[in-house]
Amino acid sequence: MEIINIFFVIVIAPVIGGLLFGLDRKLTARLQKRMGPPILQPFYDLFKLFGKGRIASNQFQLISVSVYIACTILSLILLATGQDLLVLLFVLALGHIMLILGGFSVRSPYSQIGSQREILQLMAYEPLLVFMVIGTYLKTGSFLVSNLMTGSYKPLLISLPAFLLTQIIVMAIKLHKSPFDISASHHAHQELVRGIYTEFSGAQLALIEMAHWYELILLMGFIALLWQTNLVIGGLIAFACFLAVILLDNISARLTWKWMIRFAWSFGVGISVANLAAIYILR
């Protein structure tokens, strides 16, 4: 079972993730009254990037990307094999921090400022994720995904409704969607050029892209956990959240990091804490 899960994670997850990103681009185009690229576009981009000549600014960039993708896959494996959610989060954070360091490692203005802002993005979403995990713990008494899946609990969403909302915020921040495309934007029409990704190119960039696909699956898996009794419903909820994020991207301007921190830490943390408090009181 574990082996199948791991295989699924390593091989199938990026395929689904890539298709979802393709869908994202297609849907975004349609929301803008365009035809948009083919749904396989992310794969074309990926293969092309792997075929580019290698340029980099230092060896550390290669290391950072490798750790980034390794950690992302690892955290997805941890999820798929029913491990500790808290550990998973910090493994994910390690990957993210290594990416940030990779951005820092080149003395390029946009990559460095992008990294600074990426830290802020990390700072904005990390508590929201941890609070959700704690909410899960409060309902199940364990951080283990396996425990959550095998135990006979009601769907978590019923007792943890706020976390659906915070997960949408987290997803928007993680995927750099407006209004949270602060450290790097998909459209490159940003004051930071490509922000933290400015100095990565070729295969490195392709690996980062792939890591994003894994990350998307991971985030959707997280949301699916909210309806752990039936993962099909959970997946559908996650997919709906993904669509909501795309819609949000198209009906909002990019806001500043100050706004993001304020929003994530007041609204996001606020409703998380309120939800947790409700559980404490009702327990």
Binding site: R30, L31, Q32, R34, M35, I251
Partner: protein, 117 residues
């Protein structure tokens, strides 16, 4: 905005599917310069009027050299030509891999910068 994007989603895209479908070009479009040297008397009025100096006329050699890559498609030459040798074609000038001059000496020839055919 949400109304706008959603109505976009459920309506046909505004995209013109070039090159699968090319759209009709309007009348009087100044696409590219077309020479018809049959009636040409090599007066040089076109060269004189051209603001970009894209046309060179060598009267003794009866030769007109047109540098497509300097042309700004202002249609001054077409207006200046009294013999009606120069017209503005509707189709735009296509991109090319090499820079080529269009030389007219009796019959039109295509040559590159070095004068080779």
């Amino acid at each position: 905005m949400i109304n706008n994007v959603l109505s976009n989603l459920f309506s046909k895209p505004a995209t013109r599917n070039f090159p699968a479908k090319t759209r009709e070009i309007a009348e009087n479009v100044r696409g590219s310069v077309e020479f018809n040297t049959e009636n040409c008397v090599y007066c040089g009025a076109c060269a004189l009027k051209c603001p970009a100096n894209a046309i060179e006329v060598d009267r003794p050699a009866k030769k007109v050299t047109f540098d497509l890559y300097k042309c700004v498609a202002c249609a001054c030459c077409a207006e200046a030509c009294r013999k009606g040798c120069i017209q503005m074609a509707k189709q735009y000038a296509h991109p090319s891999y090499r820079k080529m001059d269009v030389v007219f000496q009796g019959a039109p020839l295509l040559t590159d910068e070095n004068g080779e055919t």
